[in-house]
Amino acid sequence: MFFSPIKTEPIPERVFSISKIVLDKAPIDEKELEHILIPSELNTAKTSYFRPVFDTAVELGLIGYDDDHKVVFTGDKNDIKSLKEFRRFCNSKVFYDSTTDFYKMISCFLSVNDEWLQYGSVTTSNEIIRMINKETDISSLKLEKDVILGVRFWINYLGFGYFQETDKIFLPNMYTALKDFMALGDFEKGQEYSIEDFLNNLHSGSAVALKNARVSQTLNLAMSNALRLMHDNKEIELKIHLDSEKTWHLFPNEEHEFTSDVTHVVIKKAVK
């Protein structure tokens, strides 16, 4: 999923569920694990989703085999305390390799800002598929069949924006993901950071949302919305210091207090 071809079946909740079973029952026989996760009398489909879900949990390093080929829990149980902890854990894990399809897809979704809004559904618009294909080199066929459909669950879950499920429209606002990258990064409450320092102190996974940002000193729509919402919620305070060496640009929003320019961020509330 993250470091192998993207699939639709391993949605975050399923990966979380299998990890929880293993944590409770390990060491456990793989067949038994499958029976608990996918009770055979309830699963009337011909195919079972067990394998892709299992493999994704393995990719995340949460489960594995012991010497007797029993399935065991190999992660930190605190990382799967809740879906929220699990999300933060995933954000810390899945973006360290910028060559993976998953990284490229998320980066592509975020870097287009509002461009796709005019084309409608991201799963059926030829124009969008063509643009993703150009950007990621993933074949159009794969994009159409699995990749976009599979990514949509994770881009939403990892907190990069909302997904209007019926129309398949992505609405960028990485408020939740940014808070994860802040919590995973290095920040001090009350401290003021220049935008550059702020970005440097975020967890390295945030790079997925910063394509070309440092070159142009411009933040994409998802990141700009996240900063604005944190500012509006008084979790951070955006600032403009006129004497600042560098001025960064948010994606324009004439309705907001910060229409574009920003130089500093003050951490008002500790991010948990």
């Binding site: 408020y175 919402l229 907001h256």
Partner: protein, 1049 residues
């Protein structure tokens, strides 16, 4: 502005009726009328031309050709257009000229009663010696002591008298009688005499100066006064038939022409009624007027009569007009009347009523159009500036100026050093009048936004006066007076203001008011942008002005976040000038700052604008939210569609059930015009909700249900932020679990599954808190029909089992709980794939175990109760539980009785004692032995085969366990524990054994009886002695004989 002086002077200077202000105030605030339409008689035609006020004055009064001519000049215009002002200006010029050949008289509207008018005429000093003056003065004083009610009643009844005596045949005799019958009805009379009604209007014209703002109202009946609705006509149920007939013909939606005809008919008596009510006979007025003119002629004078407003002279209009059109030459020369120049003000509406009758007598018709002052922005600003200046100057200063000739270049100007950062207006004298508390933009924009008539009177009443009052008494509330006014400020700017205000460190409760004031200020006072410029301005207004109005927090916030732009110098300064300056009004002062990408067609834009109007009327004016259903449904859909429910811990099945049942009613809005009680989450009327409505309004109308519309990125920021802020609310309401892991209906479904399995004899025999995880997942497909189940339980057990399986929700209950724990991808609620939501499932089971499998009635909250499917699932379990206790009672009684029966067969084992398997086996051995002997003895009883008894022996342990369940004391056990204990049907298990015991006992008794009978028979035969069976001795003898025989061989 000089605040201290303004406090004193505002009342004097801003009197709405300009005739009331002093000469000096009048002159200091006068702005010339530049463009007045004049129609001058030329032969039988009128020639139209545009003239300045100066031109008109000269033509009428300083034109040698006209000087001795009789002139009758009409000044018409709508209410407040400036007729009075113009006439007042003529008067001021006339009395200042050095010419005493004319008596100049201004008939004031402020004393516009019938008698007041006569009094003013009699007060002219040149006419003090006219004949009969004492009689006339007595006339004026008559009737003064009469009460209001009596006077009104007099007026009313005079109408009836006039109609009764009408011989004009305008109305047929029958109709007239019916009308009189209606007028004589007390309910109808009360209606016409009520406050604001026609009788009161007429009364006020006769007796006193009107205090109403609308001085131009006509004292007549209107069609509305006479149009009746159903409710009123119903009140006339007991009235005279003629009255009812006539009332029916005046019903709304009937013949409007007829109502108009009746109105005109009654109005034709107004003058007569007023005059007779006032005690003046027809002809009196004309007579007095003639007397005055004769007297003036005798003294060699002419008369210039300026009538501010003839409309208000109800009662003598006809008489006055007749008097004014009477010339002094030709056929009238014999009357020796003086030359008369009259200038008569009238509303256009009233003018139409008499124009045709006097058309030939009118010398000039002067028309002052609405907006005459606002047509030119320079004049409009000048108009306001002069009033601002006048209120800041002591009256003595202006009086002195007026006394010295009122030269405009000498006009005193208040130098407002404390407000020099506000806009100013420069006069020709180069003196500057501070426009505080206005800016030029404010004056122009407020004028554009006026909803009342755009006339000087209403500019003063609706803009200047409230603004000055606010700055005088509470500048922190400024500009409250225009908060609800419509402005063309862009939504972008408005939303940004809202966002900045919400981030300010001011109390939350003060924010709404702060924002409203600020939006009003930005909308009207500035150039409608939030541009911060290097000349210290925001939107073209100095920041210090914002500070003065207590917008300091906003300024600090905005200037700390905005990029400073360079200022643009104004192209030229406005100065007072004699020539009109091209109008700038009604054109937006600045282009929108956003360059809008996608093109929106007119229809969509209109639809959105119309929607926005509704939302504005709701948010700003406090009205009801109308036409809200579509937007509400779309916002609800957005919520259903955009939250990933499963990731938030809400199973998709739960969301689907909720959505199917509640639909668009997920959200509602304060003051929506219907069915708010059916909505789940009500959003109050806040700035955020207002923005939300507009955001989705754009989505629907501009984007046609997409985000493809101008600046959709900002809308997306708002929509996602709003959703993020409110997500928890939506999640909680749909999850509906309060402090538990699962909602009540799922808890109910899972509990039902346990009862179902227990009652159907398929639950494992464990303590309730040890029921296995799988119990809840595996389906209990059909009712148990095994023989081992169908006998043994109590009747109520079978009844309850039937009830559960026969209920229509039986299957749905199970399926709901199953679907609830399925992790679905996307929206495939009916997916055939099943992946267990293990963490949620485990939490749920823990909770079910803790609940003792009991539900309380009140566990299903209102929201779930509203969802039919959920309610029915919950109710099924409640009903099941309600029947359980009776089952438990019957089942335990049956068990105990069965146990006692069994134990009766065992000596020394009581109900409290344990019946061990060995006891059972021992009993079975005895039974087996008995049957063996019986068989050997050839006793004629039904022998139970040994194999059958051996089978019971092998089940002895099971029987012992079943007996243990039957003997157990359940008095302290929970019902569910009892059901589980009896689920395996222990009574049914023991019953065959009990049958065996019973049969064995019966057989033993039978064998015994047969033995006794045999003995009895032998005894009777005499073969039975000494208690010994004689057959024994016989056989023994036979044996011994045989034995002896063998020995011998």
């Amino acid at each position: 502005m000089n605040i201290a002086t303004a406090r004193k002077r505002i009342g004097q200077v801003l009197r709405i009726d300009s005739i009331d202000s002093t000469d000096s105030d009048f002159l200091a605030t006068h702005v010339p009328f530049r463009k007045i339409v004049v129609n001058t008689r030329s032969g039988n035609q009128f020639e139209e031309a545009n003239r300045s006020e100066e031109d008109i004055y000269k033509e009428i009064f300083d034109n040698a050709a006209n000087r001795e001519q009789h002139q009758f000049v009409i000044v018409e215009g709508s209410s407040g257009a400036g007729k009075s002002h113009f006439i007042r200006w003529l008067y001021a010029n006339l009395i200042n000229r050095e010419d005493d050949s004319d008596v100049v008289l201004l008939i004031r509207r402020s004393d516009n009663t019938l008698k007041g008018t006569i009094r003013q005429l009699l007060d002219i000093k040149e006419v003090k010696e006219i004949a009969n003056i004492e009689a006339y003065e007595r006339l004026v004083k008559a009737n003064q002591a009469i009460t209001e009610a009596k006077f009104k009643s007099t007026i009313y009844h005079r109408f009836i008298v006039e109609i009764e005596n009408d011989s004009s045949e305008t109305l047929s005799s029958i109709k007239r009688k019916k009308l009189i019958a209606l007028l004589n009805n007390s309910i109808f009379q009360d209606r016409l005499m009520s406050a604001g009604g026609p009788i009161e209007r007429i009364y006020s014209k006769i007796t006193s100066s009107s205090t109403n703002v609308d001085l131009d109202s006509i004292a007549q009946f209107t069609p509305e006064d006479l149009t009746l609705d159903v409710d009123f006509v119903n009140q006339l149920e007991d009235a005279d038939k003629k009255a009812r007939d006539f009332a029916n013909s005046l019903m709304e939606d009937n013949d409007n022409e007829f109502i108009q005809k009746i109105t005109d008919y009654i109005n034709s008596f107004v003058e007569t009624v007023i005059q007779s009510s006032a005690g003046i006979e027809p002809g009196d007025f004309e007579q007095i007027f003639k007397e005055i003119r004769r007297e003036l002629k005798r003294k060699g004078k002419g008369l210039i009569l300026l009538v501010e407003d003839i409309t208000s002279f109800t009662g003598i209009n006809q008489a006055l007009l007749n008097a004014l059109v009477t010339g002094h030459t030709g056929s009238n020369a014999a009357d020796n009347l003086c030359r008369l120049i009259s200038v008569v003000g009238t509303t256009s509406e009233y003018y139409r009523q008499f124009r045709d009758n006097y058309k030939d007598r009118i010398t000039k018709q002067i028309t002052i159009h609405d907006g005459a002052i606002g047509e030119n922005s320079n004049d409009l600003i000048q108009f306001v500036a002069k009033y601002l200046n006048a209120v800041s100057l002591e009256s003595e200063v202006l009086d002195e100026w007026a006394k010295n000739g009122a030269y405009s270049e000498e006009m005193p100007v208040h130098e407002d050093k404390t407000h020099d950062y506000w806009d100013s207006f420069t006069l020709v004298s180069k003196k500057k009048i501070s426009l505080f508390p206005f800016t030029k933009n404010a004056i122009i924009n407020l004028y554009s936004a006026m909803t009342s008539q755009k006339t000087p009177r209403y500019i003063l009443r609706d803009i200047v006066e409230p603004a000055i009052n606010e700055v005088i008494y509470d500048i922190s509330a400024f500009p409250r007076f225009c908060i609800g006014w419509r402005s063309s400020i862009s939504e972008t700017v408005e939303n940004r203001i809202g966002n900045i205000v919400s981030s300010l460190k001011i109390p939350d409760e003060a924010k709404a008011d702060y924002r409203k004031r600020l939006v009003a200020f930005m909308s009207f006072w500035t150039n409608k942008t939030l541009d911060v410029t290097d000349d210290g301005c925001i939107g073209g207004v100095k920041t210090i002005a914002f500070m003065e109005l207590a917008f300091g927090d906003f300024v600090a916030k905005l200037t700390s976040t905005a990029t400073i732009k360079s200022s643009i110098k104004p192209q030229k300064e406005d100065i007072a000038t004699e020539e009109p300056i091209p109008s700038v009004i009604n054109k937006p002062p600045i282009k929108p700052t956003i360059v809008e990408k996608p093109l929106i067609d007119d229809k969509s834009q209109k639809e959105y604008d119309s929607f926005k109007e509704n939302v504005i009327a709701w948010h700003r004016d406090g009205g009801k939210l109308i036409r809200f259903v579509q937007i509400r449904n779309e916002i609800s859909s957005f919520v259903y569609d955009s939250i990933n429910w499963q990731q938030e811990g809400v199973p998709l099945d739960s969301k689907k059930l909720f959505m199917d049942s509640i639909g668009g009613r997920l959200v509602g809005f304060e003051r929506q015009d219907q069915a708010i009680e059916k909505c789940i989450i009500i959003f109050p009327d806040t700035d955020e909700t207002y923005q939300l409505l507009l955001c989705f309004g754009k989505w629907i109308y501009l984007g046609k249900k997409s985000w493809n519309f101008p600046d959709a990125a900002s809308a997306i920021y708002f929509a996602t932020s709003w959703l993020e802020r409110n997500k928890e609310k939506f999640v909680n309401v749909i999850k509906n679990t309060a402090n538990s892991a699962i909602p009540a209906y799922i808890k109910a479904a899972m509990i039902e599954q346990v009862y179902k399995k227990a009652m159907n004899g398929t639950i494992e025999d464990v303590k309730p808190n040890r029921i296995s995880d799988e119990t809840f997942l595996s389906k209990e497909t059909t009712k148990n029909t095994l023989p081992s189940f169908s006998k043994g339980h109590s009747g109520s057990w079978y009844e309850l089992n039937n009830f559960i399986f026969n209920d229509s929700k039986n299957d749905e209950s199970y399926l709901s709980s199953i679907r609830y724990f399925n992790l679905i991808q996307g929206n495939q609620a009916n997916s055939s794939n099943y992946v267990l939501n293990y963490p949620l499932y485990i939490d749920a089971i823990k909770e079910i175990r803790k609940s003792d499998y009991i539900l309380e009635d009140n566990e299903l909250n209102e929201t779930e109760d509203a969802v039919k499917d959920k309610r029915e699932i919950f109710e099924l379990t409640l009903k099941t539980i309600s029947k359980v206790h009776k089952v438990v009672e019957e089942e335990t009684a049956l068990a105990r009785n069965t146990a006692i029966e069994v134990l009766d067969f065992f000596d020394n084992i009581d109900i409290e004692d344990e019946l061990e398997a060995s006891d059972i086996r021992s009993m079975l051995n005895d039974i087996s032995g008995f049957y063996q002997k019986a068989y050997e003895a050839g006793i004629n009883i039904g022998i139970v085969p040994k194999e059958q008894i051996d089978k019971y022996k092998s089940e002895a342990q099971l029987l012992a366990e079943a007996m243990e369940k039957l003997q157990r004391d359940y008095s302290c056990e929970k019902d569910i524990a009892v059901l589980i204990a009896f689920s395996s049907n222990p009574v049914g298990c023991v019953l065959p054994f009990l049958e065996l015991l019973k049969k064995a006992l019966s057989d033993v008794n039978k064998a015994n009886e047969m033995m006794l009978n045999e003995k009895e028979t032998l005894t009777r035969k005499g073969s039975w002695n000494d208690s010994v069976d004689p057959r024994f001795a016989e056989r023994r003898d036979g044996f011994e004989n045989l034995f002896s025989a063998f020995e011998e061989v």
